[in-house]
């Protein structure tokens, strides 16, 4: 308990209320804590409205004990809406990774941003734009390896409503593929 701070990976997922970014954070934390055997803490903030308004989910992952539960300096920021981008894009630490859904975010003034049309990929892959949060998880894990692909797939299917497991698996795979294309492209 008196040890030093264990290295932390800090992830911030943001979108509009209703886009499922809080659920995405929960799934990511479950992948880390239940299936990869790491420590994880998930926190969230949202407006009082049930839909709309910027919604933010934070996940801290570490091999050791996690004390302060919130993101202090984000290694990764994912934004799925313009409002979320405007509010949180600047919170990624220098050298960190900013993933932007350029299908939903039109005005992107950060050259280092990794732009992937997450909303459109979701619609093309599953026919349902509400799977965008799962596609985003695929992109995130594909680009960072913060949890294993096996872990995130188990966590996604465990949380998917009955009968939608395959659809969510496909959405996740679409995210993995998009991440591979970015990596092969060699540039952000």
């Amino acid at each position: 308990m008196t040890g030093s701070i264990a290295p932390r990976t800090e992830i911030r997922l943001a979108g509009e209320g209703g886009q499922g970014m809080i659920l995405a954070g929960i799934i990511l934390a479950e992948a880390a804590a239940i299936y990869d055997g790491k420590m994880a803490v998930q926190t969230q903030s949202y407006g009082p409205e049930a839909r709309g308004g910027a919604s933010k989910s934070e996940v801290v992952i570490s091999a050791g004990e996690i004390d302060h539960p919130e993101v202090l300096s984000a290694d990764v920021v994912v934004t799925l809406s313009q409002e979320a981008f405007d509010k949180y894009a600047s919170t990624v630490k220098p050298g960190g990774l900013l993933i932007v859904d350029d299908d939903n975010v039109r005005s992107i003034d950060v050259p280092e941003a990794v732009k992937i049309p997450i909303g459109r990929l979701a619609l093309h892959t599953t026919g349902k734009s509400i799977t965008a949060n799962t596609v985003a998880l695929g992109v995130l894990v594909g680009l960072t390896g913060v949890v294993s692909r096996e872990a995130i797939e188990k966590a996604v299917t465990a949380r998917a409503p009955r009968g939608t497991e395959e659809m969510n698996r496909q959405a996740l795979q679409a995210g993995f593929t998009a991440a591979e294309q970015v990596r092969e492209g060699g540039s952000k």
Binding site: S4, E30, I34, A40, V41, Q42, D67, H68
Partner: protein, 371 residues
């Protein structure tokens, strides 16, 4: 069981079930609503009752009634609801009826900010209801502790016949962490009540430091309950010679049992002249800051209070004798710091406060350690 990712509020619900709570009455309010959600689903499965009341005043009244009727009872709320509950919390304290009140603190005053975090109800938990009275308040720092301290809240409430406040906050309530809860069968609280008629019963017997057992209504004893000052039989009295011994017992009934009631965690470092003292979500920040400070060579002690009320006076006083300076981070303008200052003097205490709905950061604590 197995490892699950669980929210603090869910852990509170499960803690209540494990402790044997079989009655919940409440009025949902952010950020406590998950406690009501889980108990509305789970209580009926174990033969318990869940009632959504018309407001928080009625919710408190309902759990007091259910408790006298023989069921371990709980409600959950947040600041605005906690304010409404104060009158009946006083009733429960005065009539010595066990009950557990969960307050998931949000930013106040008044309606404030429903989804924003706060530790602004520290003093309200102690003095929110009028008149001198004993009260217990426990404050968890993790999801697992939210479970454990809920169980403990029921135990202390039954044992000392007092309302117990589980004083948590939006951060701990909504935070998800992996937990492996114990098998509920391993959690067996002793029975402190009279559950069958056996000889004479004096409901408010005044032996100093004593907690007379509560006889559940319906077991065969007829006695009177009133929140007026009452004699040993429970009937109202204005006689000072009856009020004085009652006052003496009532206001000292926790004092003889502080070893059982006061829970705190200490992480000491030989030669430390600095200490951080905190509770609830701010204790997580404090532990983080302590590690950073030690990594840069500072000798720092850490004290985390799990029991806030009664305030651990002797322990904080002893800390003040060991170190020169105590940093008190909290998400309010310095409520617990008042108590620390009372024990060690204002000059030794450095407040680190934030009351805008955001957590205190480790850097704020580090800066205070420097200053």
């Amino acid at each position: 069981m197995s490892i699950k990712l669980m929210q603090g509020n869910d852990a509170i619900g499960w803690g209540a079930i494990a402790a044997g709570c079989r009655f919940y009455a409440g009025y949902p309010i952010t950020p406590s609503t998950e406690v009501a959600e889980i108990l509305s689903r789970e209580l009926p499965k174990v033969g318990g009752k869940f009632i959504q009341m018309e407001d928080e005043i009625a919710s408190m009244a309902a759990i007091i009634g259910a408790s006298v009727g023989g069921l371990k009872s709980m409600t959950a709320t947040s600041g605005p609801g906690f304010s409404l509950m104060q009158e009946n919390i006083g009733y429960a304290a005065m009539t010595e009826i066990p009950c557990v009140i969960v307050d998931v603190q949000r930013l106040g005053p008044s309606t404030g900010q429903p989804t924003a975090a706060s530790q602004g109800d520290v003093m309200q938990a102690r003095w929110g209801t009028h008149g001198d009275h004993p009260i217990i308040a426990l404050s968890p720092t993790s999801v697992r502790q939210a479970f454990d301290l809920t169980v403990k809240a029921f135990e202390l409430s039954e044992k000392y016949r007092t309302p117990v406040i589980l004083l948590t906050d939006e951060i701990i309530g909504h935070m998800r962490e992996p937990v492996d809860l114990p098998d509920f069968k391993t959690i067996q609280l002793p029975e402190y009540r009279l559950t069958k008629k056996d000889g004479e019963y004096i409901p408010y017997r005044n032996e100093p430091g004593d907690v007379p057992p509560l006889a559940n209504f319906g077991v065969g004893y007829r006695y009177h309950i009133t929140a007026l000052f009452h004699d040993q039989q429970g009937f109202s009295t204005q006689r000072v010679d009856e009020i004085d011994p009652w006052l003496e017992r009532f206001n000292s009934k926790l004092d003889k049992h502080l070893d059982d009631i006061l829970m705190l965690e200490e992480d000491r470092m030989p030669g430390a002249q600095l200490a951080i003292l905190s509770y609830g979500a701010s204790a997580r920040t404090s532990r983080h800051a302590m590690k950073l400070a030690r990594a840069r060579g500072q000798k720092v002690d850490l004290m985390t209070l799990l029991t806030i009320w009664p305030f651990p006076e002797a322990q904080v006083e002893a800390l003040g004798e060991r170190v020169d300076r105590i940093i008190v981070p909290e998400m309010n303008l310095g409520q617990l710091a008042y108590e620390v200052e009372r024990m060690v003097g204002r000059k030794k205490v450095k407040r680190v406060t934030r009351a805008n709905g955001e957590m205190v950061t480790p850097q704020m604590v580090l800066d205070a350690l420097e200053g």
